[in-house]
């Protein structure tokens, strides 16, 4: 498998002028790699992910998956959104079966596979529940199960845990590591949380806004499964943050109040590993 992003540029027309959201993005992603796209909000992470997904068209450049140019969305690139995007008119199990139903799989096969993946996300008990009966974390589990049933090599995730409380987020991050390990998928995971990126990624691609470019790349070579409290991880995290002081500030500004200032409130100089987490 190979996933290549080649010279992707994206501009939107606003009332009077063009907005350049992405500028000449080039990427090469290896099979089974876990990539995190990290950057402040508005830097074009979602746009890039949507272009790879085939939901948005690039102004210039192309995305090539297994030697085929991506033209539209398809089940070879499963996508998970920040909001679960589950269908409220269907029960959990029917939601999980949706992709397989579209693909025309027979009923028994669909059910069996759906239950397998529901089991993987520990929600078999809720198979007959309606979507509104689930918590935010449970919804994302169902969305993950639904994405996994597509058997795609590529899994695209757009801040899937950003709206969850920190405990739920932590649990899901751990489970995602495990599921990725078991399913060997190629994952592109968008986040604005540095901690999350370092915890999950093989490679962290840091994006910068105006226009969106990939500014820096970090290889995270830590043993898995990773734990946030692991001392090696905290060192790497501190390293990444030191390198990225400027971007960290942008990320933080997007998260904290406007009067926040990296020098004044500098937690960095105390090298407190918690900076940049949004706990």
């Amino acid at each position: 498998m190979s996933l290549i992003v080649e010279g992707v540029t994206k501009s939107f027309m606003s009332k009077h002028h063009k907005i350049y959201t992405l500028s000449d993005i080039n990427l090469e992603i290896k099979k089974g790699e876990f990539i995190c796209l990290l950057g402040p909000s508005g830097c074009g992470k979602s746009t890039l992910l949507n272009i790879i997904a085939g939901l948005v068209e690039a102004t210039e450049g192309k995305v090539i998956l297994n030697d085929h140019v991506v033209k539209k969305a398809g089940p070879d690139r499963a996508v998970m959104f920040q909001e679960s995007a589950l269908f409220p008119w269907q029960r959990v199990i029917d939601n999980v079966e949706f992709g397989m139903k579209i693909a025309g799989l027979p009923k028994e096969m669909r059910r069996e596979k759906a239950l397998k993946y529901l089991k993987m996300v520990h929600l078999t008990k809720f198979k007959d529940a309606f979507i509104h009966e689930l918590s935010g974390g449970m919804k994302q589990r169902v969305a993950l199960a639904r994405a996994l049933t597509l058997d795609s090599e590529v899994l695209l995730m757009d801040e899937p845990f950003a709206a969850l409380d920190s405990q739920t987020k932590l649990i899901l991050q751990m489970e995602l590591q495990k599921i990725w390990w078991e399913t060997k998928k190629t994952v592109i995971f968008v986040t604005h949380n540095i901690e999350e990126a370092v915890l999950l990624a093989d490679r962290v691609l840091v994006m910068s806004a105006g226009p969106g470019i990939i500014k820096k790349e970090f290889k995270i070579q830590l043993a898995r499964p990773r734990q946030l409290e692991n001392i090696d991880l905290t060192y790497v995290l501190a390293d990444v943050m030191k390198e990225l002081k400027e971007e960290v500030e942008k990320v933080a500004k997007a998260e904290y109040d406007n009067d926040w200032n990296i020098e004044k409130d500098s937690i960095l100089s105390h090298s407190d590993p918690d900076l940049g987490s949004n706990l």
Binding site: L55, A73, G74, I102
Partner: protein, 253 residues
């Protein structure tokens, strides 16, 4: 139980008003204000001589035919309008206007085209509810959360499959509301049509009551209309709406 008690009290108040207004104070003449007892008696008489049964059957047949037509045409128009942006921009406002036009205004046309018969009334019913249904379909589909469509696309759905598996079920709550509103428009059109064109039916029985200065017959028919309207509303649309709201979790509040 509570409901029965409520209606008994309502009837009691009616009787009191009748006694005061007609017998004691003489505000109304006996033939302009019916008593609940007289209405009850008339109702029994109308049922016994089959007048009511025949009238209800005739009216229901008309409204069902007319309503089915309007549902089919309304849904088709709605779907076509959504599909073609040009039509939407230009015909959207026109349909909104047509929807607010009382359907009885179409009766002259209907009579010219079909003569004073069954078809004329069915035409008025159909045209009375078609546009409400078309509007509901259009706005229902337009308001589908685009995220659902994007998600479906990433799972391999496209074209008709998206329509059938996502857009239609996602807009169903709005569509049902529109169909329900269409039904109430159809019901009004039916009564207006029947009262003016004097063929068999509930509206005609009501007009006969007026012609005979039999106010309790007028009232009896009105009661029947009320009960029929409420029954269809609750038993059919009410149930469907409730089950959808339950599924979607819209009934928690």
């Amino acid at each position: 139980m509570k409901k029965i008690a409520f209606y008994l009290i309502l009837i009691l108040i009616w009787e009191v008003i009748y006694k005061l207004g007609v017998e004691v104070l003489g505000i109304w003449k006996v033939y302009t204000f019916p008593s609940p007892i007289a209405v009850g008696k008339t109702l029994i008489k109308l049922i016994a001589d089959h007048t009511l049964g025949i009238a209800i059957a005739a009216s229901m047949k008309r409204i069902i035919v007319g309503y089915l037509f309007s549902a089919m045409i309304g849904i088709t128009i709605g779907l076509i309008i959504v599909r073609f942006k040009y039509l939407d921009e230009n015909f959207g406002a026109l349909i909104l206007g047509l929807q607010s036009l009382p359907s009885i205004c179409w009766l002259p046309f209907a009579i010219l085209w079909f003569g004073l018969n069954e078809s004329a009334i069915i035409f008025v019913i159909t045209i009375g509810s078609t546009f409400a249904i078309a509007m509901a379909i259009e706005s229902g589909i337009k308001n589908v959360n685009p995220l659902y469509i994007r998600a479906a696309k990433t799972m391999g759905a496209s074209g008709l499959k998206i329509y059938w598996n996502v857009i239609i079920p996602a807009s169903l709550p709005n569509i049902i509301t529109g169909l329900k509103q269409g039904w109430s428009f159809a019901w009004r059109a039916l009564m207006a049509g029947e009262m003016l064109s004097a063929t068999k039916g509930l509206g005609q029985v009501l007009m006969v009551g007026r012609d005979l200065a039999d106010i309790s017959q007028v009232m009896a028919v009105m009661v029947v209309m009320l009960v029929l309207g409420l029954t269809v509303d609750n038993l059919i649309f009410g149930r469907i709406e409730k089950s959808i709201r339950h599924k979607w979790g819209l009934d928690r509040s």
